[in-house]
Symmetry: C2
Subunit: 252 residues, 2 copies
Amino acid sequence: MSLNNRRDFIKKAAWSGALAISIPEIVSTAFAAGNKGQRITLNTSDVVLFQGDSITDAGRNKEQTSYNNANILGSGYALVAGSQLLLKYADKNLKVYNKGISGNKVYQLAERWDADCLDIKPQVLSILVGVNDYWHTLTGKYNGTIKTYRDDFKALLDRTLKALPNVKLIIGEPYAVNGVKAVTDAWYPAFDGYRIAAKELATEYKAIFIPYQAVYDEAIKHAPAAYWTGDGVHPSLAGAALMAEAWLKSIN
Amino acid sequence: MSLNNRRDFIKKAAWSGALAISIPEIVSTAFAAGNKGQRITLNTSDVVLFQGDSITDAGRNKEQTSYNNANILGSGYALVAGSQLLLKYADKNLKVYNKGISGNKVYQLAERWDADCLDIKPQVLSILVGVNDYWHTLTGKYNGTIKTYRDDFKALLDRTLKALPNVKLIIGEPYAVNGVKAVTDAWYPAFDGYRIAAKELATEYKAIFIPYQAVYDEAIKHAPAAYWTGDGVHPSLAGAALMAEAWLKSIN
């Protein structure tokens, strides 16, 4: 739909409250549609690593190198999902890390991948990256293309599986909420290519795919888009909880 | 049990993993036992306020006066519970505040109650206070007694209900994990009096009671006590998620 139509839609959707399906049900449905029942079973002493850009970083304290605490997990979906992992699987002695860094594109993950992924030896690796690979081309800060994104991401996954052949992969769909601040019709259809590429890579690498776009698209029928994200990209706390709910569906 | 017995117990309980009942089930059972099915139903535009000491504060940014965001909710149980409220009740336009302040005893809540509670006009008010009312007497910083705690708390609740007659109250049980760092046998049985007083006040004021002590007592059968709290009082992220899980049982 066009930006104006979408704005009207978003306005009308505000606090409708009358929808028959709850947010957790939305999330389950969207997850199941993308993953055909595939989930990850955690084992004792598993290391879970969240990797990505600012959406994952979410203001984490980068001077600490520990795990399982709120400062180092930031204040986004990795924190909310991490807190639930540590509660629900308390008997598993998990170590939950967050190594997301604000502004990162795939090539920047690659530059720090030894220290910030391979050395940590995760059993479960979750990667959410792509919005900057597109967004930064709009501001002239970056000239990578959709092919760059796909090729760089593929190389990163190959390198990961060579070092950690048994790692269980989770790939998050890059998402954006059109009509909110930074995100406009000008992003489309180009940005959709990044979403599609991430999904294709998830299939190719047998990763669990988290369909964040579908989840946000449904969530904005329950509350205004600005309730979930202030700028169309970065989640509010409600948005972080929404993403965590979707992410947690990947775990048995 | 004695401290040594408890330490042995805690050691043996570490990562046992073989218990038949899950943490969420424990929490449900403990909550139900204390509340006979009583829960709160949220309405559209309700204001939810978390009040208390450092356990509630959890490093929140006190320079911001807003609501619903991670910085101002801190990194403890109020953040985790708040994130889940904002997700599950996204259609209700809730405002979730945290006004906990580290070190507070009941009289210190009273000193700032107009600005930090009554003016905010919560429909749902959650108070967790009491550990400092006891703990600070051990360090000579405070000479209040159990009677002071009960009388001050009663006066605070009377004042609250006079200003906000329809407020729905939640009272959290002060808790401590014996055998972890700050908490020793020397706390008992004196500290138990504060737990009992909080429960009696919850009954008297028709508040929902969150049985945090029972919840921690069960949780340490699933993972070492230090997994849930570093010093016996302040929760880890896992402990914060545990408390949030218990707190959320108070909401329909």
